[in-house]
């Protein structure tokens, strides 16, 4: 079988790619995609460890909850991004530095 360490390494690399996207991108939608990558790395860890918890099945269950949470987050975040674009005509988070225009 595939060892647990392999899953952990894949998810660590995915997490770091997401971290790089969040820090380096100047576009709110790409930052959102970076957050999704990090969430997916966490879900991969949950699922991989959930293999050893058959009766309570906690890993897979909370992976499902995390996916649903990600959907809710994305919907609200996209609505906020569109509103910010309407107000400031930019979606670079570095340029949005006023609470009230």
């Amino acid at each position: 079988m595939i060892s647990l360490t392999d899953f952990l390494i894949v998810s660590a690399v995915l997490f770091c790619i997401g971290l790089y996207m969040i820090v380096s991108k100047h576009n709110a939608i790409q930052i959102l995609i970076g957050i999704e990558l990090m969430l997916n790395a966490a879900i991969l860890n949950l699922v991989a460890f959930g293999k050893y918890d058959r009766f309570n099945n906690g890993g897979q269950m909370f992976a499902l909850f995390a996916i649903v949470l990600a959907a809710a987050t994305t919907a609200v975040a996209l609505a906020i991004i569109l509103n910010v674009y309407k107000q400031y005509k930019t979606i670079d988070p570095g340029k949005i530095d006023k609470l009230k225009d």
Partner: protein, 182 residues
Amino acid sequence: MNLAQMLFYVMSFIALASAVFVAATKNLVRSIFMFFITLFALAGLYVLALADFVAVTQIVIYVGGILVLILFAFMLSGRETLNAMALQQKQFISIGKLPAFLLAALFLIVLLNMIIKVDANNLEWVKKSIESKNDIPVNAAMTEDIGVGLMTRYLLPFEAISILLMLALVGAAHLSRKGRGA
């Protein structure tokens, strides 16, 4: 090296390579479509971790829901958004990417070091669960267990998340309506 291992390496290579492409490309639309491939490969990895229901949910909600939502959000929001994005990307070609890369690489080194030190296959509780037959066998059908667990043991988080989902629905609808005073 059996078939499952080979599939695991192929899937993880596809997932990581497309994720790197998503992070590296300048074109936003192309990066979103590449993210599709990352998510599909991750669903394959979930299947290999014996979580088939989670894999199907991943495809239905992530690929069918979230990505289509992202695509719609900025393709329906008019040409100005796209133009503004293209302009921004031309301005920032390679300014200040090095610190972010250094941060991610150093964090990756720390994580890998920790993973190798932990040696997850020989953890105490993992061994104990294998001994007491608490690990999922390859031919197990877990979907029924998930359904029963959702209505018994995990009922409180299920209810909490349904309330939160409704709040997010109302909030997103409120934020994105056309009128004044948002």
